[in-house]
Assembly symmetry: C2
Homo-oligomer: 331 residues x 2
């Protein structure tokens, strides 16, 4: 009899999350009931929002239940199905969680075309992170040709798409990333006009130099010091999309020290969660797939091997240990 | 020969503005040149934005020039005109400044109907403050029926219009004002569902009690502690229009201590200046005049007598010493 393996949340982190908060469990492989689908996962997606779910404080996502399999996006292949929408051999994207096999009633699953686009891209550039980039850039920042857009976590799963879409829209793009290798990749491969290393001891001066005409749009994934530097360079009518604040998830809060800036500069700032905007996903995914097919969007992946690597991979993601989309390969 | 009297800015305030920063000067009454109009001012408007112009720090308004006549909105009567758009006897609203007579090329002047609406209302409910209320409420907060809208400085020239327009739109309206008399007026005359006195020692508890279902829209004129209390009561997708931060103009800055709120609650916050939106003024003024004509908008005025009273009136306005629109009567 085949077994399934899963990782459950064993305890809530009191400060920083560690692999000790998780536990690997085994269970018999389930048999799909009426309407159900069994999926063998190929890749598991690790995303910054998961940190919020580990706490039971009020947040936009429901807290992860203790003792239950960790939630998370997955791509895989249907191996058994009692649901007419799916048949064995279909590749699907869904919310299968941190486990080798996922059982679903099919509501979270969508069949994807793994022939023209690599399967795992449905967890990244043509998945939730890509739609996140698309929404914040198009619906909040709405960058016009010639404007300057700053993207923090510029080479991450979301940021890499923001930078490239902003460039396609005719903006000047300034990335912020951690380390010289990420910054070099941002400029050479992702087409940023410039990328500033937030680990540099001269970060503030380098941000000033990178923004001689200020900034009109900020896609914020990080918070902390990069955000503070951007606040000093806002142009009149700048728009800030707050997508994530990863520097504050296990660090000090990111503050706005003086609201008067909003009046002096007429700033708009808006926080968003992509799952609030499901009706726009088909349009966004269609455009993203079109760009990928045309070779206009590039990305990088950090792939960890095996389900057991997921907890440490999450820890690493939260501290910039990924380069591009963080994935766990399960097969 | 007739003389004009004017108040000039004599020195910039280093901390709080005082009447000693201003000086009354006299000059011969000018004769209009080609295309020019001479207006005898009936009322001078005092508005919180004037505080910002007294400093030479970067702000949305150009700094007031030292030694020059203080700028400001005025209503009055044309007494001489070489401009075909105006004839003696016309009542006009304009930016005549702190003086008894204003000379203009006509570009800042508009003829108004003083027969159906009191002349000084063109400096308040059917003037810049009214359009400010209209813009922030309709274009940023966009209150839906049944939502809760909080208005700080609830009985002021702007706030009183916001509260009444929000009520007309079907919202539940919660005012914040300084003192029991203002709060009583807010509820009895302006139709707020409740008004909380920010001078109350139990202010935080009273705000909590006034917002049992949180708030969906915040029209912020004040900043400081009322703003901090509102941040604690935001509903998901709340919209905050930042119109003014009068508590911070001569006090400590108003901060947003933790941006994470923007993600958890998906908040939008936007600062605005009504003069950025001139194309919308005719629509806004038309709607406001219609509401006034139909008796749907009420307001109060604090009227000081004589040009010499203007400096102290501005100081009082900045510290809540007005009740409704602050005006100086010049005739």
């Amino acid at each position: 009899m085949k077994t399934n393996k899963a990782i459950i949340l064993d305890s809530r982190p009191t400060d920083k999350v560690s692999p000790a908060n998780f536990r690997l469990v085994e269970a018999p492989l389930p048999t799909p009931g009426p309407g159900e689908v069994l999926v063998r996962h190929h890749y598991l997606s690790l995303d910054p929002y998961m940190r919020g779910r580990l706490s039971d404080a009020k947040s936009y996502a429901k807290p992860q239940e203790l003792g239950a399999t960790m939630g998370g996006g997955t791509v895989g292949e249907v191996v058994a199905s009692n649901n007419p929408r799916f048949k064995p051999g279909n590749f699907v994207v869904g919310m299968g969680g941190w486990q080798l096999y996922g059982l679903s009633d099919g509501r979270d699953l969508n069949v994807v075309d793994a022939a023209t686009i690599p399967l795992q891209a449905y967890l990244g550039t043509v998945g939730m992170p890509g739609v996140t980039a698309w929404y914040g850039l198009n619906k909040i920042i709405a960058a016009k040709k010639g404007e300057t857009v700053v993207v923090s976590a510029a080479t991450g799963a979301v940021g890499s798409v923001v930078g490239q879409l902003a460039k396609i829209a005719g903006a000047r793009t300034v990335g912020v990333a951690g380390g010289a290798d990420k910054c070099a990749y941002a400029v050479k491969e992702l087409g940023y006009d410039v990328c500033v290393d937030h680990k540099s001891p001269r970060f503030a001066e380098e941000m000033k130099a990178a923004l001689p005409n200020g900034l009109d749009g900020l896609f914020e994934n990080v918070g902390g010091e990069p955000f503070a530097q951007c606040l000093r360079r806002l142009n009149d009518f700048a728009r800030i999309a707050i997508c994530g604040l990863i520097a504050s998830y296990e660090g000090p809060p990111t503050a706005l020290p003086d609201m008067r800036l909003f009046l002096v500069r007429r700033i708009k700032i808006e926080g968003f969660i992509v799952s609030d905007h499901l009706p726009l996903w088909p349009q966004a995914l269609g455009e993203l797939a079109g760009h990928v097919a045309a070779g206009r969007l590039r990305w990088r992946e950090t792939v960890r091997e095996g389900l057991e690597s997921a907890p440490q991979a999450l820890v690493d993601l939260l501290h910039g240990g990924n380069f591009g989309k963080m994935l766990v390969k399960l097969i």
